[in-house]
Point group: C2
Chain length 302, copies 2
């Protein structure tokens, strides 16, 4: 049973097939957030603080921290942001950068065992990131693209993921510390994007036996009612094998999707998290809802 163990100074989180879906909060990321980028660049972390606290309050099990700001000192800002966030909340973090120096700076100040986001199948990325993962004994997100870009063929993406897992093994990193991002295409541009990812997630779980993650909202880019589509993508993907996602925990529909997936995948024992969250007033008779079919079925079942 594959288990990826992450921690902060005081708290451990396990990503795994037998675990509740791991919600990784995506908000602390200046990409596409001009105001946040400007604030972080000038050392104003008020929005970061608010985002950290709000996401954990909303149920995020981990937070992704990204400081990718053009023409800024990303290593310093990322390290400062991580220290600040770790002083505010106790969830483990995902250290998110495509710049190796920034990852090093983040790892240098991090307390606990983080997830590093990310390594790709490109040789340069593998040779620079994997030694860091080994040195700091942490886990890494493996993105299934390589020098040739992102293949539209899921079998090619699987082979890239496999290559990263094997190369990590060469560096002394266990498969359970490689969390594969199968790369989610927008369904509006590619009608097979859903089925493709579900099939790929199934192979990642059964053949490579690794945990998985993705940027959840990619699936619905350009399509209306994104929240509902994201939420159902999450639960369907979780049924297919997805064990975590980088997503917005402030979106209640997405969180309901994750919680429903936990119930239906049998990783919310006695539905206790679901019931705690959605318990109805005692006057409501849940048995009164649901229509005739169920009544008949229940009688048959006796």
């Amino acid at each position: 049973m594959t288990r990826t163990i992450l921690s902060s100074a005081t708290k451990e989180v396990v990503i795994g097939f037998d675990q509740p879906f791991c919600v990784i909060g995506e908000r602390i990321n200046p990409t596409g957030r001009k105001k946040l980028a400007a604030e972080m660049k000038e050392g104003n972390y008020a929005t970061v603080e608010a985002d950290a606290i709000a996401q954990v309050a909303a149920g995020a099990a981990m937070l992704d921290v990204n400081a990718g700001i053009p023409l800024a000192d990303e290593p310093r800002i990322l390290a400062e942001t991580i220290q600040l966030v770790q002083s505010l909340v106790d969830v483990p973090l995902s250290i998110d950068s495509s710049i190796i120096e920034a990852l090093e700076a983040g790892l240098g100040v991090y307390k606990g065992r983080p997830l590093v986001n990310s390594v790709t199948g490109e040789d340069e990325s593998l040779e620079r990131v994997l030694p860091l993962i080994k040195k700091y004994d942490c886990a890494v997100v493996a993105i299934s693209n390589d020098e040739t870009g992102i293949s539209e063929d899921p079998d090619v993406r699987f082979e890239v993921a496999k290559k990263i897992v094997e190369r990590a093994h060469d560096h002394g990193i266990k498969p359970c510390d490689v969390v594969v991002d199968p790369l989610v295409m927008p369904i509006g541009a590619m009608g097979t994007a859903g089925r493709q990812v579900f099939a790929l997630l199934n192979r990642l779980r059964t053949e490579l036996k690794v945990n998985s993650t993705c940027g959840l909202s990619n699936i619905s880019f350009g399509v209306p009612n994104r929240r509902a589509l994201n939420a159902h993508f999450l639960s369907m993907a979780a049924a297919a094998g997805l064990t975590s996602a980088i997503m917005n925990p402030l979106h209640a529909e997405d969180m309901s999707g994750a919680m429903a997936a936990n119930v239906l995948n049998g990783v919310d024992a006695n539905c206790s998290r679901w019931i705690k969250k959605f318990r109805e007033p005692a006057v409501v008779d849940a048995g009164a809802e649901g229509g005739g079919r169920e009544g008949r079925r229940r009688r048959r079942a006796r």
Copy 2:
């Protein structure tokens, strides 16, 4: 590619792996609806009329019609109800009764090719229902229980389904005309109910190659926020192979689940049904939502 073809006098509906999820409206069923039962018994079909029209307006592709009222003349009432419903709406019907005489009466007046709901794996049921299915050249819901009741073991339920498909074949009925109900247990009572059904649906699709259906709301019996749980059960089950469900089309969340499943399973070409239903005002920029991760991914994807 398995296709179950149903029809009314004027309209054909196909249940199939490559088709949109088939929503079968459950409302015309007096079980647990005392007022409706009393009305139907005295020949008042006002509620039936309203339910028929509302369910089709809400997007039901078929309607289930049940007239199971204690101490009433079920064959006569079922036949009358079917004739009335067929005069009001053009969707194919599922003729729902556990009484053979009622099924016969319904089949006698039905215009088109109906779904008969249902046959079980019990010998008496098989020997009485299957000849009717052959005689009227229609399709049948096969419920995976037998003389021993409903097994909690999904492998046993699979074997019962297989037995029904084989017995139907002996009667000259093709597997594509057998729509298996794998039987959904309440998740509140059995934490494995979800995964069990997903695995069973996968086997029904890949091994028996048959279509499937279920009473959707059974899954959430006794648990709060049933709508969200039903909706995610629907989309997850559709990802696992479920091709239809007997459900309440007036529940918007469930319908969104079915529509999202169609998009993500690649059976809503160009997301056209989804976009038609949820199109946003032109001023909204869909690209503005979704956070930084997506922006980064899209840049990487180039």
